[in-house]
């Protein structure tokens, strides 16, 4: 989700609420004889408001789970999650009198800080990463389907190379007859290549290209480096007849797509990895805050 002009009303409303909270807090803190206690009436209001906003922010996951419920657009919920969740942070600090507390209260403040920071990081990532993804991953696909697509790329490469069969074609190679063909198995022409060229192509495929295509995210392999890959294919072209360069071009293109998908995987892990901290800690925060509220009210 990009943070653009459409967020302005949310930002303004959140800022207004924060200003209101500050206006109430200043005289309250100045007039408190022993510092502003969380257990006072206003302190409790801040605590309840902050906790309420946390619960609202957590309800986003329910909204996503039941996307067909008519309870507002997901985008609206997302904006509310972002801005109201952020507002909960100063409200909880007002509740605590800007103290990090002790024991459970301190743990809650720590977790809240991590949740807020991870949320801000996530918002920043979601703001900038899509553009980076578009720039750096032109062959982007659906994240969940990357594994499946990479399997298809391997199968496609295997299909290309299966035509290089000494039994059937005496080291002949079937190449596409037309540029419009989608696969290698349509009308084709048999092109004879020398045994030496066929061996070089086969050797490179089995030693470098196939292992690279077979392992998702194989960043340490030579083919993972675009410059190395380009050099290797260029070298292969020098020892093979130009009649099979179309096949080599296709192999290179498959490797290029694999590299893009690996890069997309990497970027997606960054884009979504923060959720692995944000979501569990958010649930933990809600649970611990409930315990804190019960214990604090009991022993107030």
């Amino acid at each position: 989700m990009r943070i653009d002009q459409t967020h302005r009303p949310w930002a303004l409303r959140t800022g207004a609420l924060l200003a209101l909270a500050v206006l109430a807090y200043v005289p309250y803190a100045v007039l408190s004889r022993n510092g502003p206690p969380g257990g006072s009436a206003l302190g409790l209001i801040y605590g309840i408001a902050g906790y309420g906003l946390m619960i609202f922010a957590a309800l986003l996951s329910l909204r996503k789970k039941f996307s067909i419920w008519r309870i507002g657009r997901a985008q609206t919920w997302m904006r509310g999650h972002l801005w109201l969740g952020l507002l909960s942070y100063p409200l909880i600090f007002f509740h605590a009198g800007f103290s990090w507390g002790h024991g459970l209260a301190r743990l809650i403040m720590l977790i809240l800080s991590i949740v807020i920071v991870s949320g801000l990081l996530g918002a920043a990532l979601q703001h900038y990463m899509p553009r980076i993804m578009t720039d750096r991953v032109p062959l982007e696909t659906i994240y969940n389907q990357i594994g499946r697509v990479q399997e298809q790329l391997l199968a496609e490469a295997d299909d290309l190379m299966s035509s290089l069969s000494p039994e059937k074609n005496e080291y002949g190679l079937i190449v596409p007859a037309s540029d419009q063909a989608a696969t290698m198995t349509t009308t084709s022409t048999v092109v004879r290549v020398s045994q030496q060229s066929a061996q070089k192509l086969s050797a490179m495929y089995h030693q470098a290209v196939r292992p690279y295509l077979a392992h998702p995210g194989s960043y340490r392999q030579s083919m993972a480096d675009r410059r190395v890959s380009k050099a290797m294919f260029a070298q292969l072209r020098t020892v093979t007849p130009d009649s099979i360069w179309a096949v080599i071009d296709d192999l290179e293109n498959i490797c290029e797509e694999k590299r893009d998908l690996d890069r997309q995987s990497r970027l997606q892990r960054v884009l979504q990895g923060w959720l692995l901290a944000h979501i569990p800690l958010s649930y933990l925060l809600l649970a611990l805050s409930a315990i804190h509220a019960i214990m604090a009210l009991r022993y107030r």
Binding site: R33, N34, G38, G101, H102, G103, L104, A105, L139, T141, I142, N144, Q145, R148, V149, Q152, E156, P176, D179, Q180, A181, A182, A246, D249, D250, N253, I254, E257, Q272, L275, L276, I279, P280, L281, Y283, L284, L286, A287, L288, I291, H292, M295, A296, L297, R298, Y299, R300
Partner: protein, 453 residues
């Protein structure tokens, strides 16, 4: 040549992909459940009650930090409450502590816990914030409508009045004639020779007055009082206030009350009737041992300066001799010796004078505490600036509040500013009204220890 068209790309994807659980989604769900569950289990198993506390207890209460029920009792005004809440009531505090009331005519009595705020770490609970005092003293009211104190005090540096003895430039109650300037001068001579008196030669805290005075004549030195049991166990014990200056301790060495060369014993520093009886007894004893003295002419050295002494008729017997000598001696005593320091009154019809009492209070500020020990690193003249030049004992030499405020102007203390909180000098509770307290808690109750171990 490979081509990537929408049609070819579309066939690549599983159209139900969103229904499947990817490793990332599985991780998210597992972590989302496992982290809170494990954390709550750990909290439940560990059983550390302190973890739920809003802060560490003060050092005085830290012993029972895990026994919340010692303070958070379900008692309100003696009755057990079965409700959810467990607040700290005054009764819980008073089960261990004395807390005499502040003033009988105060309009508002705060709860113990509102001034002595717990769960703030290893701090002293006596350190009450100024705001607690100022809430009443900034606009003081009483149930009787009569005010004995200034009604608008907002802090030591905010509208606190001058110390009461110094407010009206009035003289002190002392009836002693004494010049600090003379005694701090260079021409003072003691029994051992020239003396340059320092403040602490005469003014010392009670704990330091047991030993002999530094300038004392060896023949008149008092023996050091034996230290009582545990006298030195408490560092600040009897060191807050200066001990009163006494004649016997501080004056006698230089100002011995010798009245006649025939007697080695000095006159006791007592009331006139005791002095009179002593003088009579001395002369009676002397004439009994020296009957021929009746016919001796008195020595010329006993003349009172400026006084005209009628030559008495020669005594006819020992009784007349004693009477004449006593009269002459008492003329000297009441007219010169005693008046050197004391103010004497001669009531009509009474033979002996009355000495005005020299009532110099040990504590000038009865509603405040002060410790010289805490200020022992500061030179005396730094605070008592007018003392070295003082000519009269009636001059009140305690420092002005401005002197105190020149250091005590920080809350809390910081570089260049000592703390100026109310509690440093004032006590809320009237400790003179404290009564005996019988404790009820057991060690097992406070520590949670198993008594069978």
């Amino acid at each position: 040549m490979r081509l990537r068209t929408a049609k070819t790309l579309g066939t690549r994807h599983d159209l139900n992909y969103f229904k499947s659980f990817t490793p990332f989604r599985i991780s998210r769900v597992v972590l989302g459940l496992a982290v809170p569950v494990f954390a709550l289990l750990w909290l439940g198993i560990s059983g550390k009650r302190q973890f739920y506390s809003k802060g560490p207890l003060s050092s005085a209460h830290a012993l029972f930090a895990d026994q919340c029920g010692v303070c958070h009792v379900s008692l309100t005004r003696g009755a057990s409450t079965a409700g959810f809440r467990r607040p700290v009531t005054d009764e819980a505090c008073l089960s261990c502590h004395q807390a005499p009331a502040h003033q009988p005519d105060q309009v508002f009595t705060p709860q113990c816990s509102s001034c002595h705020v717990e769960h703030r770490g290893l701090v002293s609970l006596n350190h009450v914030r100024d705001a607690q005092c100022v809430q009443c003293h900034s606009g003081l009211e009483t149930t009787t409508g009569k005010l004995r104190y200034v009604s608008d005090i907002r802090g030591f540096n905010r509208n606190h009045p001058e110390f009461a003895p110094l407010r009206n430039n009035s003289a002190g109650p002392s009836a002693i004639t004494f010049s600090h300037r003379v005694h701090r001068g260079d021409s003072i001579r003691g029994p051992q020779g020239a003396v340059k008196l320092q403040c602490d030669d005469c003014h010392r805290p009670e704990a330091e007055t047991a030993g002999p005075w530094v300038y004392a004549d060896p023949s008149t030195r008092f023996g050091a009082a034996p230290a009582g049991p545990g006298a030195n166990l408490f560092r600040d014990s009897r060191r807050e206030l200066m001990a009163p200056v006494t004649y016997e301790k501080h004056c006698l060495t230089c100002h011995a009350l010798r009245f006649d060369d025939r007697f080695t014993q000095a006159i006791p520093h007592k009331a006139p009737d005791v002095v009179h009886a002593f003088v009579v007894r001395q002369f009676q004893n002397y004439i009994a041992q020296n009957p021929q003295a009746i016919h001796q002419v008195p020595a010329a050295g006993h003349k009172i300066p400026g006084a005209t002494i009628m030559q008495p008729t020669p005594p006819r017997n020992a009784s007349e001799w004693v009477q004449q000598n006593v009269e002459r001696t008492e003329q000297l005593l009441w007219g010169v010796t005693c008046k050197l320091c004391h103010q004497l009154e001669f009531p009509v019809g009474e033979g002996l004078p009355r000495v005005k009492p020299s009532v110099a209070p040990a504590r000038w500020l009865p509603n405040a505490t002060f410790s010289h020990e805490a200020h022992s690193g500061v030179a005396c003249e730094s605070c008592h600036a007018s003392a070295p030049s003082s000519e009269a004992a009636s001059q009140i030499l305690i420092p002005s509040i401005k002197t105190c405020q020149s250091c005590h102007n920080g809350n809390p203390a910081n570089a260049g500013s000592a703390e100026n909180s109310c509690f440093l000098c004032h006590q809320y509770h009237q400790w003179k009204d404290r009564i005996h307290l019988r404790g009820t808690h057991t060690i097992q109750e406070l520590t949670g220890a198993d008594s069978s171990r």
